[in-house]
Amino acid sequence: MPSWQTTTASLLSRLTVKQLLQRDVSVEKLRAQIGAIERLFPAHPPGFEVAHDHPLPHCDADWLRARGARTDRVILHFPGGAYVVRLPNMERAMLARLCSAVSARARLVHYRLAPEHPFPAGHDDCVGAYRQLLELGIRPNRIVLSGISAGGGMALGVLLALRDQSLPMPAGAILMSPLTDLTDPHDGTRVTNALRDPVLSHKRGVEMRAMYVGGDHAKMVHPYVSPAFGDFTGLPRLLFQAGSTEILLDDSRRCVERAREAGVDAELEVWKEAPHGWQGLPFAPESGRAIEHCADFVRECCP
């Protein structure tokens, strides 16, 4: 059984977030209500400085550095939010914990969101952010990509694009409960975990995912949009983390299977009854452990 903190968070989420996500509300209302969670997190994580140097052409991006820390490891992070909403304070707080656990600095990319900017706008922003790190002289073997939820799918899509553009690969990637298939398959954990998942519901999933591709359903099978359909040959080491009751669990399983078939060192950690995005809950012991595992993985890839 999970800790009481995680159990309470799951219960509250089941009563509020999950209900909101399956109701017919506008994107503005969704952003406002999900955005209310932001009040729980400080804009600047304690002990860290948030800098905005090296802006990207089409979107904002932050540097997150622990004060006084000297390191050459960089975590390039893509936030979640179904490509429609964002929770920057929550993502910063989570990244700060990861950075302090592994002595790294982080680059958080606030890529453009749908429906205002459908694919490939956000994807291009993220590929551009990686290119910028290389232009700044950061060696690819000192960079680890990470992403949570839709950001995890984005990270995989970016890796496929980097490989296709013959750019040097980063040292590894951490995919936290990634959304890797936008075609909404009606099988596996999308069905079997539909009632057990305390956060996500696929009732409005199709509609929200259609926003990302600007209503062009044919794009949903594009590997940069749904990496589960991609060829993983040439990708670096991958660590997936997902909760056992998540509807997105099979998204990770399918990618690990494809990656290993392609000879990529990929592994999946299935966390018992952890809710979607639990890594971002600073008060939950499971979150602390999951972040420590991510930190171990960064050290393994970027010794």
Binding site: L15, A266, P303
Partner: protein, 236 residues
């Protein structure tokens, strides 16, 4: 030449940390299964502890201690931050030996009970301490050993550093620690809370409770929506 030697030596230490991190992650994973599945968790944990004692405590830490001793000789001021690390090498080894002994001595029924719970907690603490220790060491690696030491120091340090971390190559690891290597090669690994036990009946009740909550939460939200629709004309 000296710069290349320095880089090679520091890379060696960092690779050791990479292997150690991989094994620590596995120990953390297995300690949470120790009470529920001692038969499968114990052999992996025993091999992991043996790897720590045979390589990390016997090869890697003496390698670091030699580096710290050289730094002490060149710049005693910088060494002040490192004396704690040297002490932690000794206490870490003692703790690892004690844990390996405890693991070997406990019976499966003891591991399912309080002793297993205590042991799991101690393993978790050991993992935490080791991670913190590595972080402090990395801060030292990044702060100037390359600036302080001379070419002759690096050459001497490299001379006694032939052995490589078996965790860096899973095939080599498998030859000496087969169960640990087998676990590290698994595509999917399950993580539970420390001390979690298999309780199917309790889990069944939990699923039922979730369904009831889900149903009433939906009902409550639909009622609120309906109330809003009914009230709307009166509010105008």
């Amino acid at each position: 030449m000296s710069r290349a030697t320095a880089e090679r030596f520091m890379q060696l230490l960092r690779s050791d940390h990479a292997g150690l991190s991989r094994v620590l992650r596995e120990i953390d994973l297995q300690q949470s299964r120790l009470q529920s599945s001692p038969e499968s968790a114990r052999p992996v944990l025993s091999e992991a502890m043996r790897y720590l004692l045979v390589y990390q405590h016997s090869v890697h830490h003496p390698r670091e201690d030699r580096l710290f001793a050289r730094i002490r000789a060149r710049e005693p001021g910088l060494y002040r931050n490192m004396s704690r690390l040297v002490r932690e090498h000794r206490t870490g080894q003692q703790r690892a030996e004690a844990l390996a002994g405890e693991l070997a001595r406990a019976t499966p029924s003891q591991l399912r009970g309080k002793r297993g719970q205590q042991l799991a907690r101690q393993l978790q603490q050991y993992v935490q301490h080791t991670r913190e220790h590595m972080k402090r060491e990395e801060a030292v690696f990044y702060t100037g050993s390359e600036r302080v030491l001379r070419p002759s120091d690096w050459a001497t340090l490299m001379e006694g550093s032939q052995q490589r971390d078996p965790a860096g190559d899973l095939q080599r690891l498998a030859a000496r620690y087969p169960r640990l290597a087998e676990r590290l090669l698994q595509p999917e690994r399950h993580v539970s809370e420390t001390g979690a036990r298999n309780a199917p009946r309790r889990e069944g009740l939990r699923v039922c409770a979730e369904r009831v909550i889900e149903f009433y939460a939906q009902l409550a939200h639909e009622t609120i929506d309906l109330a809003r629709i009914v009230i709307r004309p009166f509010r105008r």
